[in-house]
Amino acid sequence: MASFKPTKIQVYPKLGEKVTQDTLYWKNYKAPVQIKEFGAVTSIDFSPVTPHNFAVTAFTRIHIYGPFSQEPVKSFTRFKDTAYCGRFRSDGQLLVAGCEDSVVRLFDVSGKVALRLFKGHTKAVHLTDFTSDRYQILTGSDDYTCRLWDIPNATELTTYTEHTDYIRCGVTSKLNRDLFITGSYDHTVKLFDARVEKSVITMDHGQPVESVLLYPSEGLLVSAGGRHVKVWDLLKGGQPLVSLKNHHKTVTSLALSSNGQRLLSASLDRHVKVYNTTNYKVVHNFDYAASILSLGLAPDDASIVVGMTNSILSIKHRKNQEDSKEIAGQQRRRPSYRVFVKGKNYVPKQDDYLVSKPVKEHLAKYDKQLQRFNVSKALDTALGTYIRFRKPEITVAVIKELDRRGTLKNALAGRDERGLSQLLNFIIGNLVDARFTPVLVTAAEMILDIYQSVIGQSPVVDRQLLRLQDLVKREIEFQKDLLEVLGMLDTMFASSLPRKEVPCSGIATLDWV
């Protein structure tokens, strides 16, 4: 004896974004911590040593935040004007920052007053960084020059004047103390070698360059400027690899996720996009409230820090394992699951006599009613408030099933004003949904057939019928328009197809019979 087969609920593909591994990974952050700074946050830099504090440069201050505190653990306020580009040295002991007043200041992270002042630039310094041997500082300024400074003597070593516009970004090589890269508003990215004291590679970005980033292997370079993010192959002499145009406003900041598998770009269009670095497809997208100026990613992606023009600093911490475990633990405390699986995995011994018991199957309420041929009740159940609004596919599936059984007319008939208006409401709400149209059109026609004799008795139902009429009329017009467009497209495609000649020749005739 076969068991009752429940009504098949059609599973429709979910519209909207797909759930991928990446989405799950990047969604696994807590609600952001928002901190109000004194001005637009222009730079965020994470300390390379644990506990991975980060320096936030905003207006005339640099705040250093710990990984968990919402209050700054340290702040440097001795700037005469807007500070720029606070960066940690690779040992996390020193911090360098540029300033609108063209003076570059070097701080001890534990101290308060600047250790050294590097004077020489004539305009605001937007780029500061330490070289990999820790003894020199790279600076880039709006006076079109970039310079190397010696830390112990606080003297200028070299000046490079190859750029022809503001230098706003740059990075030093972590592997070679003599190499550094700068990006400028003259649309170029230049790779300098301190040993030959000039640029060795020049790459044309096409837009004013806002940010540059080196891969950990330093074989690839990423530059951002305008709406574009471009990837360059340094080992092939600066050959362009990919050009990404996923933002619709200027891209301001770049970051690599710690394992180098994902690239993040932040833009004035208030989005942070995550790219897969193997195929450079966008795999995830973060939305923020205001235009983003700076982006920082903690090692191991433990937190994402974003600085915005409205002087808000947003910090998202990653949910740690214990939190998720705790939730799982709560679920396990419920007894129901254990009760249900009790004895399910029992293996009978060899001489046990097995008494088979029919497995009780769980049927939905409408299925139970369908099994008993209570068609009107089944339809009522399927039109219940929750199902009707949250899961219209169930209602439609039940209507379809009733139609298949040839009892839809019986189920629809004999309803009072309330029941009928509920039914009509559902049909009006879902009729133009392409997935449900074929089923609901049949039902609507049947309703009209059944209730045509009582039209005019209830103003509520009449109004709904008029609405239905309007809806259908509008839909027909849409369809007509679409068909016209389709016809136009067909003629265009047909005219672009090539023509072919077909050969033809003689025949041999056989006779078997």
Partner: protein, 757 residues
């Protein structure tokens, strides 16, 4: 024209087992049912077919246990004979010659044995409309419905209470009426039971008379308590509509036969214990015959919404695959989902099915489903459902054939004028791979009728009425078009192996062969080909042509101008379904005419059953017992025994002498001569003589047996020709009579062949 004597058509199964009500034996161990021209004996516990009682030459119309000997069974047939069988050993005991028998009925009571013999001769038409015959307590009561009621409630079945004076009748309006005091004329009363919503098709009382069983088109077995009719038990969802219900003589088992060629055995506690399922043939075989590449089973649509896998070797249904996965509503006039197309890929790992439901007024509902073979459960698991793949009915569907290529491609053609290619898409992150539409195309708005892939999968041919279009599946480019007016091409297939450059098509009047290298028609022959089948393992093709009421078979290679084999009038009527089934082991036949059967067997389907074309050599093979492990064990043992017996059969006499207990031995004088003989005469002679003596005795017995048959056999029409000369000499000597019987036993098929040709 070549005729081959050694190749012939063999019925190989698929006959109905629900034609008449089955019979359960007294010990409830066996179930007997009429199945085509044989009676099948099934075990009620294991569902296996134990014996097939073969011998009838016409449709078996009834099976009945012999009341005097519960190990024997009568069967009646349309060939006009009544045969008595020993069903435990499967031996024919007796043949009775009668006129055409439609059914046999016997009262069950033991004291009416003589009467029973007589009644079995009575032709009892069970065609119940408008008359039915009921046997109650030895009194044959025949009632016409007009006597009782108005025209609308004709009754469809009757059953008599075994003890009470009560007759139950089932009616077309779903009511059951119990008539009491029937023996007293005009004083009968009746009560009505109503549960069935449509015709009650079968009724049966249990042997004790405590319960009444009824069944109908709803496929629910209802058990009514006799005299407490408000209490009833139900057994729903048994399968197809119930056609017959029978109860075993001890009342421990019920069995119901269903319209979908199935017999269900039910324990008296209303629990299904076994299901015997035959080949299901619905109204039409919409999916073609196919071979499952894995199980080598024949696949076709069976029960509504199911696909059946049928083992040809064992004539047994392996399993049903539920395609529609919906509750089947047993109601006549309701449009149900039907499986209309199915296709396997070459390795058997994918199955594509199309189901459709066509409603009046509403639009066509169409689903394309793709099933993946699951190694763990050894069955097909639903992978993708595509609802409404086309706007109109799908006319053909085929998978890309090559086994080595990684991409699996499915092409479906539809009456909406399009053909679509479906491809397995790369797996998404969370779900497995699923099927997506890869390409859609049309050709001048014509309707595509069928499609076919070449053997290597590099070409796709799609027929648009009169035009054959050839496409490249890799680039989806239209390579060429072939056309041969007049007439639409109805069947299409590519040649294989060395003939892969040929493309064959059939029109209503022609068989066409195109050469794809020259893009021209190579040859054509005018015949009405109904079905063109390609052997997957060789270049051979088989064409079934319909000509003047019967079907001819031609087997040919596309490259050769003459057919390899032709057989006129394979069967009467049209053959629209046929398939080549690869053999498990290759046959080594060197005869040219039968070589085409070496690699595969050709099966085709007629109205009644599945037929097979086989060679004579193979038939001998078929008689051998299957090599089961049990057989190997037992067989060895038996062989040894035989050898043993052979070697010391000279000592047989001594052994009987020495090993038999003294008190049962015959007199010494008798034994002495035997003993001496055993020492003197050579063994073979003695055995020959003995065998001869036995033969003599047997024939004597047969003579006696058939003596009484002689009278009745005169009317047998088939014998008329043979007996014509003898009939005018009424007095025959015994020797003559024996000669005549010997002639009668001979096979007359050669004569029939002579007459036909």
């Amino acid at each position: 024209m070549v005729e081959h004597g050694d190749i012939r058509v063999v019925h190989c199964g698929g006959s109905k087992i629900n034609f008449r009500d089955p019979v359960i034996t007294h010990d409830s161990r066996f179930l007997l049912c009429a199945s085509g021209e044989a009676v099948k004996v099934f075990s009620t516990s294991t569902e296996e077919c134990i014996h097939e009682l073969r011998g009838h030459t016409g449709l078996v119309t009834g099976v009945l246990l012999r009341p005097s000997n519960h190990l024997q069974v009568y069967s009646s047939s349309l060939d006009g004979t009544l045969r008595l069988w020993d069903f435990t050993d499967g031996i024919l005991i007796k043949v009775g010659q009668r006129f055409q028998l439609v059914a046999v009925h016997l009262p069950q009571s033991g004291d009416q044995m003589v009467e029973a013999q007589e009644l079995s001769a009575v032709l009892s038409g069970v065609n119940p409309n408008p008359a039915a015959i009921a046997f109650g307590r030895g009194v044959r009561t025949c009632r016409h419905k007009d006597n009782k009621k108005g025209g609308w409630n004709t009754f469809t079945c009757v059953a008599c209470h075994p003890k009470d004076d009560c007759i139950a009748t089932g009616h077309e309006d779903g009511k059951i009426r119990l008539w009491r005091n029937f023996n007293h004329k005009k004083e009968y009363t009746y009560s009505t039971l109503h549960w069935h919503h449509s015709t009650v098709s079968s009724l049966c009382f249990t042997p004790e008379g405590t319960n009444l069983l009824s069944g109908g088109v709803e496929s629910v077995l209802v058990q009514w308590r006799y005299n407490q009719e408000s209490e009833r038990d139900f057994l729903p969802r048994l399968g197809g509509a119930i056609t017959h219900i029978t109860v075993s003589p001890d009342g421990s088992l019920f069995c119901t036969s269903h319209s979908d060629n199935k017999i269900t055995i039910i324990q008296s506690c209303v629990k299904v214990s076994a299901v015997i399922q035959g080949l299901v043939k619905g109204d039409s075989i919409r999916t073609d015959l196919m071979m499952d590449p894995r199980s080598k089973a024949l696949v076709l649509n069976g029960k509504p919404g199911h696909l059946q896998f049928y083992s040809l070797q064992r004539d047994k249904l392996l399993y049903n695959l539920d395609i529609v996965q919906q509750e089947y509503i047993h109601e006549s006039g309701l449009q149900q989902f039907e499986v209309v197309k199915a296709a396997f890929d070459a390795s058997g790992s994918w199955l594509a099915t199309v189901e459709e439901r066509h409603q009046k007024a509403a639009e066509l509902e169409l689903n394309l489903k793709l099933w993946a073979f699951d190694e763990q459960t050894q069955s097909f698991v639903l992978n993708t459902t595509i609802s409404a793949p086309h706007d109109a009915q799908i006319t053909a569907m085929c998978f890309c054939q090559p086994t080595d290529s990684q991409t699996t491609l499915l092409v479906s053609t539809s009456k909406d004028g399009h053909f679509k290619a479906w491809q397995l898409a790369a797996p998404a992150h969370t779900e497995g791979p699923s099927w997506l539409c890869d390409f859609v195309s049309a050709y001048h708005g014509l309707v595509p009728e069928c499609c076919s892939f070449s053997a290597d999968g590099s070409l796709l041919a799609v027929v648009f009425q009169e035009v054959v279009t050839v496409w490249s599946p890799s680039t989806w480019e239209l390579l060429t078009t072939l056309s041969q007016p007049p007439g639409a091409v109805s069947d299409l297939c590519f040649g294989r192996l060395s003939c892969s450059k040929y493309l064959l098509g059939t029109t209503a009047s022609n068989l066409l062969c195109w050469n794809l290298l020259t893009c021209s028609l190579e040859w054509t022959t005018s015949m009405d080909v109904r079905r063109l089948v390609a052997d997957p393992l060789s270049e051979n093709m088989a064409a079934f042509c319909y000509q003047s009421g019967s079907t001819d078979l031609f087997v040919f290679k596309p490259s050769e101008p003459r057919p390899l084999f032709s057989h006129k009038a394979v069967c009467s009527g049209k053959v629209t379904q046929a398939v080549f089934a690869p053999r498990e082991e290759m046959l080594e036949s060197c005869e040219e005419s039968s070589q085409w059967l070496n690699r595969s067997q050709l099966y085709f389907l007629t109205q009644q059953m599945v037929n097979n074309i086989s060679t004579s050599a193979e038939e001998k093979q078929n008689e051998n017992v299957a090599m089961t492990p049990f057989y190997l064990l037992l067989g060895k043992h038996r062989q040894q025994q035989q050898e043993h017996q052979d070697s010391d059969s000279s000592l047989w006499a001594e052994r009987t002498l020495l090993q038999t207990p003294a008190h049962v031995l015959p007199s010494t004088s008798y034994l002495c001569s035997m003993f001496v003989q055993s020492l003197l005469i050579s063994v073979s002679d003695a055995r020959e003589e003995k065998a001869h003596a036995e033969e003599e005795m047997e024939s004597e017995k047969e003579e006696e047996d058939s003596e009484e048959e002689m009278e009745s056999s005169r009317s047998k029409p088939e014998l008329a020709a043979a007996a014509a000369t003898e009939s005018d000499t009424p007095a025959l000597t015994k020797a003559q009579a024996r000669e005549l019987r010997r002639v009668r036993k001979l096979d007359h098929s050669w004569l029939a062949g002579l007459l036909d040709s």
